[in-house]
Symmetry: C2
Subunit: 308 residues, 2 copies
């Protein structure tokens, strides 16, 4: 079985243009025609990235949001997209998907340029893709690898809501509450990303889990990162439904589907928006985890490794 | 069962920006930052757009070529792409796919910007996608809908080779000959498209079949098109292996996978490259077919309707 990192290592030999950023980043940064475009493509597979019985409007919404979240993490404004759509076999389902797609693009003020519609064999897990194109608002968008020893690590908001929403759905709850909405209708933090791109040394969105994504930022920056588990912000809804223990803190920090921005900034930097300090970079390598000053063993899985 | 035209009609309500060209064209034409970019996304599904036992290098090559062919039809030069790749579960297969991708991008001088790698459930038909981005070489790239009554309809080269190659493969032939190569390793006609974009009133590539694609051009241009079946160029290899009868001419003209350019031009236009006149546009609507001056009944299927 090939895994994703092995295949990306193969592609890295092809993607040698600086615009590809060594395939280490969430998005490409491409200078073309006196503009800096930021481009990302994420696919979603049924049963992996969304549930078969998720509302089609929400699936379309999420497809847009997860891609635009990659743009947000580079401080870019979404301009346009192309979609790869697999017909469902159900006209009403397709109609509702198109409705959700239109809502999401209107929300972000981005245009649909085109794409492709295919039919997969009946019964196959559906595969949906979107290429997002945005315009950078800064000369050099923050990369993953720009953290500096001494930088603080911040997140923009509550972690674990998407994971908790997925647990709710798996547990048979279907009334869309705050947590379920976080899973099904995440929001790309465009304005936050744009503001933070002015000060962040490194930035990415949290899609696979806070711990794994923080480790990726540390690895790319060739630094060590220490995370204070008790400083990871959890929502009142999370506290209410899931409860707060070390185990649930770890679940939140490894569950993924957050789409909060994770960034490194100088301790003295004036942050343009409120953010939560969750850790600190230092010389060295790897990730260490603390709770109330005491070392916490790392969980086996630092994030949701769904090859996505 | 929703069909592709119904779904595209839904998307047309969303894709209202002129850059999307009403989703009637093979590619979007987007003015951004003093450049005119041309963008296309085509996906390929295993068993529909390629065969499970096609060599992985060739599948990667074809994924690039079919997308760059859409750029060629707008007179654009390929610059960059993003891919959506589904891991095969076989490291050697993935390695060979990456090799073919690198070969194709080197052939066209385009860069890989990024993309996504996902895992589909084991046994599902694999779904591969590519977003192609090119730079227009003309101020307004030729659309599908620009044909004028009186224009001649031309193709750039032999039709039916890809279809014939597919028949060869289905018949158990596997030594890559000229026809099988046409199916597995089509070539996007970048230079030809660039030259023709100077004179063509309308242009598109033939992916689904000459007859259906000519009818699409006529419909978009609100004209009638008459095609002379005996003028459709067939290769010596096609003649040799498939033979030339009315039936095989019809098969060639409806088989698809040609990636020749189909264009409308003024009868007096000086064509910058050699091309084959196969028909003529006139006031009216629909497609009519003639052979040696006699009307030929239209086949039930004008092309390969694979929702692709």
């Amino acid at each position: 079985m090939t895994n994703e990192p092995d295949f990306i290592a193969l592609l890295r030999n092809i993607a040698r243009d600086p615009a590809a950023r060594g395939l280490d980043d969430d998005a490409a940064v491409w200078n073309i025609g006196y503009q800096t475009l930021v481009l990302a493509h994420d696919s979603m597979v049924e049963g992996v990235h969304f549930l078969s019985d998720d509302p089609p409007q929400d699936i379309a919404w999420k497809l847009v949001a997860v891609n635009f979240s990659d743009l947000a993490a580079k401080g870019a404004i979404p301009l346009a997209c192309l979609t790869s759509y697999s017909l469902s076999g159900d006209p009403e389902w397709d109609r509702r998907f198109a409705t959700g797609l239109g809502q999401a693009l209107q929300h972000y003020g981005a245009i649909l340029l085109g794409g492709d519609t295919v039919s997969q064999p009946s019964g196959d897990a559906r595969c949906l893709g979107l290429t997002a194109i945005g315009r950078s608002t800064v000369p050099v968008p923050p990369a993953r690898n720009g953290a500096i020893a001494g930088d603080f690590l911040y997140v923009t908001g509550a972690i674990g809501n998407g994971w908790a929403g997925l647990q709710r759905l798996r547990g048979g709850h279907h009334n869309p509450d705050h947590l379920i909405s976080a899973y099904r209708r995440p929001v790309a933090l465009i304005n936050e990303g744009r503001a933070l791109a002015q000060v962040a040394h490194a930035m990415m969105d949290i899609s696979d889990g806070l711990l794994i994504d923080a480790k990726r930022m540390a690895d790319a920056s060739r630094l060590h990162v220490r995370i204070e588990l008790d400083k990871v912000p959890l929502s009142p809804e999370f506290a209410d439904v899931i409860g707060i223990t070390r185990q649930t803190r770890l679940a939140a920090a490894t569950g993924g589907d957050d789409y909060q921005l994770l960034f490194a900034a100088d301790p003295l930097a004036h942050l343009p928006i409120a953010a939560h300090k969750v850790g600190k970079f230092s010389a060295g390598q790897g990730l260490s985890l603390y709770e109330a000053g005491e070392s916490v063993p790392l969980p086996d899985n630092l994030g949701w490794l769904h090859n996505g």
